[in-house]
Symmetry: C2
Subunit: 463 residues, 2 copies
């Protein structure tokens, strides 16, 4: 039995224990968007270092950054003539509370209907853990065919503000021949996908205030501009009636889709029925000139992510609120520049702001869009790994989400980034009842094992 | 020394104690808009009954309603040939928390710069207590010149849903010749005002939802209608560009202002500088064809009182929110009907709701506008009481706020309602740092004492 066959058998034999270990990681509420959870971030980092050491990884360390730490670990047993694969993942998660509408507490993993329910189950703890367990399976079976390095960060959900400097500082440590990232998804279990494009991000907060305090709506109603109304008026001017974005210059740098690209995207088109079933919306929405799949992957967007003003508790309170706030974010596509989009957005909002209120715009974070050539050998090896390990041929797709670090890794380390997502589009990530299919978890480990073998079979890299 | 002179002297001698007693009442967080404070409502009702019994009121009782109770008490010592005055007030308050921006805890009264700071200080605990202390001052000085009845409710801030049935059920108990209410304010201490008109209210909540859950904005952004955006689009269509209200038929029943009425309102006009200083807004806003005072008292309005959708905590969360909510209320003027306005508002909102989301409209509460003839003898007696007790002639003004019960009392008990407000427009009611001037409190007690004497001097009522 080859080392790969043995590793695949080991993974099958230890499937239940792998799940139990994942559940332990999911119990840690490592929420990076809320400073109150800094201790949980540290606990998750410690847990991962223990986990890496336990399987036999070397030079395992919690490495500091200006923010939350990076968990690093490596295994160089394949030898210097073999390829080295850098595995990127993130152990931080977005907020979740049972009051948001979860059926069970989000940090108490529950297995039901063949899925494990918990915040982070699919994004990204479950997916990053696949690679840890793939390496364990090899090391318990005589060793892996390539060298591995793990780069696990704790700030992906706040747009990785410190990872780029970390990579710049540790180029030698992180040197590799390819990077594999599992932090994306496929439309159905029999339709695996390799993501070769990701949307970027510009995330802002808009604040409107005018009165120095909440005002009694009876005393001043009619003579002052209600900040919530002023905010509503501004937000209502960010889209055109055809649902395109009204910010001047917003589309200037969008690379038009070619007919060939549209044909590729059409292979994974989403039907209206699929959209409605997956989301619960009564009807689709968006730019009529583009298919649903194009709208969610190849077109930039502008969303209101949050709104807050005045009294929002039970019953009524007759105030003119002192202030109103909106969180607004744009998904960007090549070749939009997140900072350029921020400036255009800010300038437009301030230009349409009425003189009857005070308006400010704050940049929360940015992420660059990414596009990887899928004819590269490391991309094609990934396709073969799916055929063997997953049991289905993958399609190369554009992802609608943002992993800002993909562009950074590709550029700084000069290596292809292979996005082998093992989630389902319906996993509910960032929403309530996030979950991860156990079958996807175990097939993912199998595919990750096979991928290392496929990489080892490629001609030696030119270094 | 007449009984009235003695009572006025007694009030001056006991001013400090009166304030201490008021502070005890202000310590009870009797918030009627939040069911969690039901026990505090009961505590405030008990406190008031003790207070009424202590000064010598008779038949004092906490009388049940379908909601929070009415505190009742009376004094009939003037005899059946004398007028009976019904005092209305409310012991409930709107929510307040130090996190809202208060300088001191809202239910720990603090005296600073000649003002007592606390939620309810001016609205309405401080003002209703004036009448309790006026009666005490008479009873400690040989008796009052008229009979008194107290009707103190605990649901004014939730639009008095049970007071109208209570009055209907207890018409005989509440029979009186006039009703006096101190729950309004004047622009400055030397400019007392008798409010002869109040705005009504229609308060609704709008809910927009579409996805069954929060969605990842990367996966679905561009293909579904963001509920927060849909809400914004609806809210942006409730006003016309000239700041009038766009709801069809909204102004149908508004009685046009005559030139004579506009001249009366002009006596208390608010300058732009006054508005800016009082509110902190950078510029006035509203219907250009009306003066500032007209806008805030004689014109109907539509305000957004609260907005909530998606992620509103620190940092960013890249979701398409599952739902969005707005609290919206209209201030109404004669002869608008709150239920008719509700139907027009609801029908319009549902008519402009896009088919890409689900929209619902819920009526939270209503209040009728009120208009009292200020040539009535009980109104003119109040003007004389201000001249003698307060030391300044009052103007008859229109109030911009809503006291729904005023219309109910006037109609059901067939008596004039005299609104002698002892607050200042700048007291911050319903906002942060609500306060009540101690000078207003003590001058109010003096004026309330004199008013009973002035009522006693009127020709016998025709009963």
């Amino acid at each position: 039995m080859s080392s790969t066959s043995a590793a695949r058998q080991y993974a099958r034999d230890n499937a239940d224990r792998f799940l139990e270990e994942l559940e332990a990681l999911l119990r840690i509420p490592s929420i990076s968007t809320d400073p109150a959870h800094a201790g949980d971030i540290a606990a998750a980092a410690d847990w991962l270092t223990e986990s890496l050491r336990a399987i036999g990884a070397e030079n395992v360390a919690v490495m500091p950054t200006a923010g939350y730490p990076v968990v690093y670990g490596e295994w160089n047993g394949a030898g210097p003539d073999k390829r080295t694969v850098l595995v990127y993942g993130h152990y931080d998660v977005v907020p979740a509370a049972i009051e948001d509408g979860w059926d069970t507490p989000p940090f108490t993993p529950v297995v039901k209907d063949g899925k494990v329910f918990a915040r982070g189950a699919t994004d990204d703890k479950g997916q990053l853990f696949i690679h840890v367990k793939a390496l364990e399976s090899y090391l318990a079976s005589g060793g892996a065919p390539v060298n591995l390095k793990f780069l696990l960060e704790g700030e992906e959900e706040v747009a990785s503000p410190n990872l780029r400097p970390f990579i710049e500082e540790h180029r030698d440590l992180l040197a590799a021949d390819a990077c594999v990232i599992s932090d994306s998804s496929m439309p159905a279990i029999e339709r695996p996908a390799i993501t070769h494009s990701l949307r970027g991000m510009t995330y802002i907060e808009i604040h409107v205030d005018a009165p120095h305090d909440d005002l009694h709506s009876g005393f001043y109603g009619g003579a002052v501009h209600n900040p919530a109304l002023a905010l509503v008026e501004i937000l209502s001017k960010l889209h055109n009636p055809d649902h395109s974005i009204a910010v001047p210059g917003f589309y200037d740098d969008v690379v038009p889709l070619t007919n060939a690209e549209r044909a590729e995207i059409a292979k994974t088109d989403m039907s209206e029925a699929e959209l409605l079933a997956a989301t619960g919306v009564p009807a689709p929405w968006g730019e009529a000139d583009f298919t649903l799949r194009e709208r969610v992957s190849a077109r930039p967007t502008l969303e209101i992510n949050g709104l807050l003003s005045g009294w929002t508790g039970p019953g009524s309170k007759t105030i003119i609120p002192a202030r109103a706030m909106a969180k607004v974010s744009c998904r960007l596509v090549g070749n939009q520049d997140p900072h350029d989009i921020y400036e255009k957005l800010r300038d437009y909002i301030l230009a349409i702001a009425p003189p009857t209120v005070r308006v400010s715009v704050e940049l929360l974070n940015t992420g660059e869009p990414a596009l990887i050539d899928f004819t590269l050998p490391e991309m094609q090896a990934a396709a073969r790994a799916y055929e063997i390990g997953w049991g289905a041929s993958p399609v190369f797709t554009r992802g609608g989400g943002s992993i800002p670090i993909v562009a950074d890794i590709a550029h700084l380390l000069q290596i292809p980034v292979v996005m082998m997502g093992y989630g389902l589009d319906t996993d509910g990530l960032h929403g309530t009842n996030e979950h991860f299919s156990l079958e996807m978890f175990h097939r993912g480990i199998d595919t990750a094992i096979v991928y290392l073998e496929e990489l080892a079979r490629l001609p030696a890299p030119s270094r």
